[in-house]
């Protein structure tokens, strides 16, 4: 195995993307994800790839649309306000069934917000990300290694299902360094007979388009797309369970919040409180199965989020509101402390009293 190196999460995403065969990157700088663009600017020219700093986020996402139409692996990255600018493009990519990878290293919002870490784009990422009925596969890394691994996975899933994968990270994940191994055995990208690569006068024209003026046809396309989404929900949900075997309290968190929650859970276990963690790795599809199980086992679920409570809705749906689901949060670029999460755990264990 190759030596582990220390990398920032942002750099790990960039290098993993190149390893996955992404030779086209289009972006526009914004804190806290600029290292992705900087890394691509340095590496792409050396390997015959394309790095292009677009004139805006909107231009960048439309360049992604262009390359995706030709079947090549392509990506863009941004942070919260920049991703909002891309939302038109995200909808067009979905409407044309194009595979691509989008990275959102979230910062506090709404508006221009701040530059410190946040998870408040959960709704935007998991409930569509633009107009129309659509989904993106949303992957939520909780370590620098996962920033890399889920980038590779994101490209593979995007190609497999002809849709957008989004890495939903946060400022901490982007900026922190951890040991990472980028020793991948990358499977070749699948054939893309739909790609617009030139007919060579040997086949019919391929058309990539998201405009369908016949309502009957557009309805049919939507029905078929949701059949695909159903298969993804059944097959692609990923999560990690930590100390859930005998848990009477369940903490649910993703990304940086899950890291903080693990500290709190270890501390609570020392105090004899039976508490565990469910960490969704895919946010869409949301992993329902572990919550169905937890709802029959625990007395309370605590959602730890860097938002005003967005994932908590999906937890309530997945657990069918069979047990109380409470929120433990900080927002605006603040991060819950292990002590705050521990307090929520102790309170839940005492039936709501401290």
């Amino acid at each position: 195995m190759a030596d582990k190196v220390l990398m920032k999460g942002n750099e790990a995403i960039a290098e993993a993307a190149i390893k996955a065969g992404c030779m086209h990157y289009f972006g526009y700088p914004i804190t806290p994800q600029t290292e992705i663009a900087a890394y691509m600017a340095k590496r792409m020219p050396k390997i015959g790839g394309v790095f292009l700093q677009a004139e805006s986020e909107i231009a960048a996402i439309n360049m992604v649309y262009g390359v995706a139409s030709t079947g090549h692996r392509v990506m863009t990255s941004s942070s919260s306000p920049g991703v909002s600018l891309k939302s038109e493009g995200l909808s067009y990519l979905a409407g044309a069934d194009l595979p691509s990878l989008i990275v959102n290293v979230q910062r506090g919002g709404p508006g221009l917000g701040g530059i410190q870490p946040s998870q408040s784009d959960y709704y935007q990422a998991t409930k569509g990300g633009g107009h129309g009925d659509f989904h993106m596969i949303v992957l939520a890394p909780a370590s620098v290694q996962e920033m890399a691994d889920l980038t590779v996975k994101g490209f593979e899933l995007a190609d497999k299902y002809r849709m957008t994968s989004m890495i939903l990270a946060d400022g901490t994940m982007g900026q922190m360094m951890e040991p990472v191994s980028l020793d991948y055995d990358i499977a070749p990208a699948p054939e893309k007979p739909w790609a617009t690569t030139g007919t060579k006068m040997e086949r019919e024209h391929n058309i990539v388009n998201s405009l369908f003026l016949s309502p009957e046809k557009l309805e049919q396309i939507n029905f078929e797309r949701f059949e695909k989404y159903k298969a993804i929900e059944e097959n692609e949900a990923m999560y990690e369970e930590y100390m859930m075997e005998d848990a009477e309290i369940c903490v649910c968190a993703f990304g940086i919040a899950a890291r903080v929650a693990k500290n709190a859970i270890n501390e609570a276990r020392k105090q004899g409180i039976k508490v565990g963690l469910i960490r969704p790795i895919t946010l869409w599809p949301f992993p329902s199965a572990p919550f169905k199980k937890a709802a029959a086992q625990v007395k309370e679920i605590i959602s730890v989020e860097l938002s005003m409570g967005q994932m908590i809705d999906d937890i309530k749906l997945a657990s069918e509101c069979k047990v109380p689901v409470t929120l433990c949060n900080r927002v605006g670029g603040m991060i819950p402390s292990p002590e705050q999460v521990l307090e929520a755990i102790v309170k839940a264990n005492n039936g709501g009293a401290l």
Binding site: K4, L6, M176, E178, P179, R259
Partner: protein, 177 residues
């Protein structure tokens, strides 16, 4: 050593992030679990800079150090801000050239190192940070040449190979003081 949480803090430009990265690499080379988290954004541009480093025998949970075992304070605002957060029984390393006041806490170990003066006297004005790191490694009995050399070669790019000896010298000055 189970888990040691370090907080480095000072002005932007003092090599706060660099010294944290060196320590993290040294941990990685010695098969420890490590994490490094900088402050970022406008803070980096001439204001206060800080970085959290965790070196552990077990997987690192949260990479955010809010209660450091070891605080490195390279300017007065940093000592003012973080002194109270150090765990009881923890250690504070103070650059006594730049910070005139003494540490108020009585339940921590304090090392005063005139790092900036020593760096200037030895013709390496930008390496006060590594003088303090040398002191940290010596105090923690972690000053081994194999780890130090390997970690230096990881954090100093080939382009700046001439800085290797200066950094090594700075670490040794810290060790001896």
């Amino acid at each position: 050593m189970a888990t040691t949480q370090f907080l480095f803090a000072g002005f932007g430009g003092q090599g706060i992030l660099f010294s944290g990265k060196f320590l993290a690499y040294k941990g990685l080379i010695e098969d420890k679990q490590v994490s490094w988290l900088p402050s970022y954004g406008p803070e980096m541009r001439g204001g206060t800079a800080s970085c959290s480093v965790i070196i552990s025998d077990t997987p690192v949970g949260s990479p955010i150090v809010s209660k450091p075992d070891v605080l490195v304070a390279m300017n007065l605002p940093s000592l003012d801000k973080y002194e109270a957060s150090v765990v009881k029984g923890g250690t504070i390393f103070v650059d006594s050239t730049l910070i005139e006041r003494k540490v108020n806490r009585t339940d921590v170990t304090v090392h005063y190192i005139p790092a900036t003066r020593l760096a200037n006297e030895n013709g390496m004005p930008t390496l006060a940070n590594m003088i303090i790191v040398g002191k940290i490694l010596a105090e923690m009995n972690q000053f081994n040449m194999n780890g130090v050399n390997k970690a230096l070669s990881k954090v100093i790019s080939a382009r700046h190979a001439d800085m290797l000896d200066f950094n090594l010298k700075a670490l040794n000055i810290g060790k001896e003081n």
